[in-house]
Point group: C2
Chain length 341, copies 2
Amino acid sequence: MDLDERKLRVMQAVVEAYVMNAQPVGSRTIARDFDLGVSPATIRNEMADLEGMGLLEQPHTSAGRIPSDLGYRVYVDRLARIARPSRSDLEVVRGALHRQVSEVDSVLRVSVKVLSEMTDCLTLMAGPHAGESVLNTIELVPMRSERVMVLVITEDGFVQSRMVDVPDVPAEELERAARLLNEHFRGQTISEILGGSSLESLRRELKYCSMLADVVDGLLKKSAEGGVTDYVIDGAANIMKHPEFRDVARAQRVLEALAKRSLIRDLLNRFSGDGLAALIGSESDTEDMRECSLVSAVYYIGGRPAGRMSVVGPRRMDYGRVMGLLKTVTEAVGEVLDERD
Amino acid sequence: MDLDERKLRVMQAVVEAYVMNAQPVGSRTIARDFDLGVSPATIRNEMADLEGMGLLEQPHTSAGRIPSDLGYRVYVDRLARIARPSRSDLEVVRGALHRQVSEVDSVLRVSVKVLSEMTDCLTLMAGPHAGESVLNTIELVPMRSERVMVLVITEDGFVQSRMVDVPDVPAEELERAARLLNEHFRGQTISEILGGSSLESLRRELKYCSMLADVVDGLLKKSAEGGVTDYVIDGAANIMKHPEFRDVARAQRVLEALAKRSLIRDLLNRFSGDGLAALIGSESDTEDMRECSLVSAVYYIGGRPAGRMSVVGPRRMDYGRVMGLLKTVTEAVGEVLDERD
DNA sequence: CTTAGCACTCTAACTGCGAGAGTGCTAACA
DNA sequence: TGTTAGCACTCTCGCAGTTAGAGTGCTAAG
């Protein structure tokens, strides 16, 4: 059986009515509220077909229908239009992001907050990874009691630090090590440094403090993998605004799951490519997230993809609007964090 | 009417039975489970008195009693014993904290996580303020396109950074500025620097880059006020494990309230002194937190009070145990972050 | 192919009722 | 005088039965 035009329109009607009212939608409602030009009986037949194709489900015999994961998928792929945010939404975004221009971290945090407020959903973000950022300086700052603070600073303004015990290393040796490291690496991207073999060959040169190489290596890796602020979660309480989470146990399950950084990482990694994408219900292959959908987009820093933001809500989500907002916000982030250069 | 010994024991019995079972406790239960040596009828009389004094409440006529905020207060002040954590609890704490010794930030985060896991409550932390920490270095790192990264580094290992536009400043001038700043301030605590007037007088000396003084001033203030990681919240989903938050709206209310940093700050600021303290129900004067209690303690870094951790749960909380755990964890944090020096 | 009509199904909401728990009061007792 | 047993009373909770309403699938006619 094929999805002809009318079936698609019925599908669309079911999704949109259900998103709006959070209640199973019947043929009568569609006939009344959507101008399909056919009677409830006809719509009933179409709905029966759509159910047969696995796009709709019936909670029980005498209820209306609700979209299945597959149904939402069809809706997102073929029916939803990425909505241009309303003028007022747009103003909220611009207003929030234009207040402070410079700090990467706060721009991102504000964006995530704005997203969760506007969508009434929870928002996740993978912090920027500095893999493609250019190294500016590696600093070795001597501290009391034979410790050294190692700092890795990139041109984009990422700072990563770690303190290490370095017994019995004379100050001059530290300075030499710093000079050596910077001569070799300044101007390269973090990825290039990690990809090259210089770090290995430097290890011998560093004599007294060869373990410094390990520390620098660790810091560089952390920067490249997005360890700078790693993951941010905002608007967790929003999940409870939706009737599907009227039951505490469900809300708890989701929030508990998302308390694990590893899960956030896995979820965000399921997206590939730089465009808008959605993960609907069990598509995430994560039992605890079966009741949720994720919509995700990449944000850019200095023109390069730097990380990912994702809106998490009930499957019954206004995909068009959320995608529109996510697009707008990530683009705005890109612009704001580009102006700086 | 006075709180004689027997009334206190009845009070204690009510609190402990209610904490255990989450259900209003009746005279019969107390007579059976607590060895008071009197009959239910006598206990009934005592309970009526305690209700008259405002320490107990009755949800409805034919239910047992539950403690009022005032009742819990009496319990905490006069009846609860700060419990020595069980051997297994102790091992969990030691295990978690001994894994990584050096990073201040991760020690604190792990502590907060451990607390929320062991208590099944939500845990708040005010990040360490570096006011009493000794300044090691102020670094001015030149970046591309006439920007400078300003870094403030303390002996304790706190790093605070900010990027600023500094047009038309020659490299030598930057170096001079850095040398000047460090000569003046290295070795002083942040508070001392902020308290002194040197920063003002330096402003003239810094010529080309007098605004650097502003930035340094801003960073120092941020360090002193606990801006390093400011506030951490962990185990938010735990709040829903407790039957009093079976209703989503209640849980939502609390979590939404705690999403505001300002509220967390206000709540933690209500505690004073370094000892263990509790804030029960409406004692926090915060409508949204009326259903919750907070138990709080200070943690130390390098022997100096650095911040505060607080366990947030339902009023029906095992105060003795929570206080014991909080004490143990904060003390362990202090030890771990002292060994480093 | 579409539609009206109709019998059927299932849920949600309401009602009434009984069981159970706990109280306060009274009167007896040490 | 303080304590206790007994008892009538109250209130909630859970269960069963009933009803109203919504929505379906089927059939037959247009």
